[in-house]
Amino acid sequence: MADRRAELERKKQKLAMIREEKERRKREREAKESEDVPMRVTRPDKDLRTETEELLSSLGIPLGSEGSVTRSLNATPDTSLSPIPDQSLSSTQSGTGPVKSLRKQPKLSVVSVHQANIPPKESVTYNKQTQTASTTVDREAHPLDYYKWDDEFQVEEEGEGCSLPSKNLESPSIYPRHNTPHKVAGLPKVEMVRPASAAEGDTPMTPGHTEQQKEEKIKVDLSEEEKQQIMMSEEFHIFFGKASRIVERALYEDLDICVDYTGTGEEQEGDDKSGIRLLLNRCFTDDRWSKNRTITSFDWSAQFPELLVASYNNNEDVPHDPDGVCLIWNMKFKKTTPEHIFHCQSPVMAACFAKFHPNLILGGTYSGQIVLWDNRSNKRTPVQRSPLSASAHTHPVYCVQVVGTQNAHNLISISTDGKFCTWSLDMLSAPQDTMELTHQKQSRAVAVTSLSFPYGEFNNFVVGSEEGSVYTACRHGSKAGVMDMFEAHQGPVTGVDTHRAQGHIDFSHLFLTSSIDWTVKLWSLKDTKPLYSFEDNGDYVYDVSWSPIHPALFACVDGMGRLDVWNLTNDTELPTASLVVDGSPALNRVVWTPTGHQVVVGDDAGKIWIYDVGEQLASPKSNEWSVFMHTLQELQNNQVDQDLDVLTSLSSSIFSSPSTGIR
């Protein structure tokens, strides 16, 4: 640049010099001419010359001046002038003669002028570092871009590069496919605007970028019609067909490839209750038949462990519908409708599968009738019914169960008036045997609300009553009837369940009772005192159920919609897993699936909720039985200690009249 300026200076100087020279020559010539004119008169032989001179002079001034110019230029051969004039003149130089040839016509020749146009170097810059960071910036800019346009242009014109570099860096990264800005920009044009820009890379970007921003803004505004149009187009359908097929296949693959078999999870879910413990699997409900009916009992089919029978109370809203409904649900399939629908005239309080007859379903109703349905028949009404007579039941039947073996089995039903009936499945017209369950000490009969047979027992059983006491009884033998009484609860007993999980240690003497008095109590048949009382609930506990596979696991449900799963080896104070069912309906019944990995809960709105219990919780470890044994021991010891304390405090209060002396 400095060189150019110097060159320019020199050129100017030369031009000035040339002008001066011209002037001088002109003056000289004029002086000469003025001299020549008198001279011409004296020299006749020079007439021709003078004539020509005159002729020339009329034309000669330009010629002469040219000549003088060339002469003056020739006189200064050492000075190098601008290349262009130099070139053009150098060719004439040879043609022109020395100084004396004033009259000599300078030779003119056509000169080709070299023009070298050097386009400036195109520099393409990418900056990959800022890809992710820039997107957020860009996103924020979106709503305001529309207004920011003009600012960009103005900024550009000012030649301020400060705000632009950040934008420049963004644009290549966001739309890598749009490499066009570099070409679209039209670089030479840009150069003119910015004569002295330091970083060449900046310049090509800005106009391209603003164009991009324009495009961007336009893109986001695809209208609904355009979208519809796109969706109607043939190529969209082709794309969608292919893509949806692949995606659906991928979706249906339920494989969890991230399963960690080592159990060393980086997962924080180790102690997380909600994560794996209880997950809603599905919900069984039928709008027509189960809506608004309280679920009164559950039973599993012995032959088909996926079949679940649920009995329903009446629906007060629809008086014309049958009062008692019994539905058979299938857990195996994704179907949401029941397998079989049965109904009868009286609300069904208890239902069970006839254990050794896969087609028969038995129900005990509110009217005292025992009903038998057969799923081979097409009828939804019972195929057999027990009579409404004094020999059978006259009170609601809350418990039905089939006990015995394949060859020698009976149906047992107990009603709230303490009547214990034994039936044969072939003949429901009259019970085979009846018995009154009355406690020896009281003449009153036991109002039985729940029944449970210990595992492997067909004779002795446990019943819970409305008074809050629990009785053991036996069917046959000399002492048929109620044997022991447990002063269990302060309110009616809602559920009794005997221990079921089989292991190397037998816990079948254990049973649980749940009651309206908000507690669940753990008992042993050997002892009239409860082993432990679980008092975590805040509402009536409606049912309790032992896990069929885990010795220390049980579930209970209460009226607030709470489902609790207790693991006694883990914690006896609080449930290990707990959740509230959607919508907090009062939960009436709970059972475990035969596999022990799911819990089935029935509520008072006719919905059956099936929850998956997490693997770690549901499956017992090999030492589970022994650990539970220890826990029981501890519980017993605690109980003993407690009792001791009570006794000592009592005795102390008795003996405390004199000053000291506690013992």
Partner: protein, 97 residues
């Protein structure tokens, strides 16, 4: 024809665990979505970029190759991307149900 598309979309949407579906065109503009606007815009922009990058990676390694399916598994979700020349189908699923 359009109803088939709707039907298929509905079927995918009601599949267990599916949180949402977005269809975007090659410029990253959502054409159809089952999610709310802000989420859609976010996913559309980010996933389009990622899919482009994935495609360019595949092609850089072997120019005769091309991206057919992209699946991003995270702790909470799984994002499945079925790319095409013109469009992109994005499905977000919670794999544990």
């Amino acid at each position: 024809m359009a109803s088939e598309v709707e039907e298929t979309l509905k079927r995918i949407q009601t599949h267990k665990g599916v949180i949402g579906i977005i269809i975007v065109n090659s410029e990253g503009i959502p054409i159809k979505t089952t999610l709310d606007n802000s989420t859609t815009v976010q996913y559309a922009g980010l996933i389009t970029q990622l899919a482009d990058k994935a495609r360019s990676t595949v092609r850089d390694i072997d120019p005769t190759n091309d991206l057919t399916f992209l699946r991003i598994r995270s702790k909470k979700h799984e994002i499945m991307v079925a790319p095409d020349k013109e469009y992109l189908l994005i499905v977000i699923q919670n794999p544990s149900g």
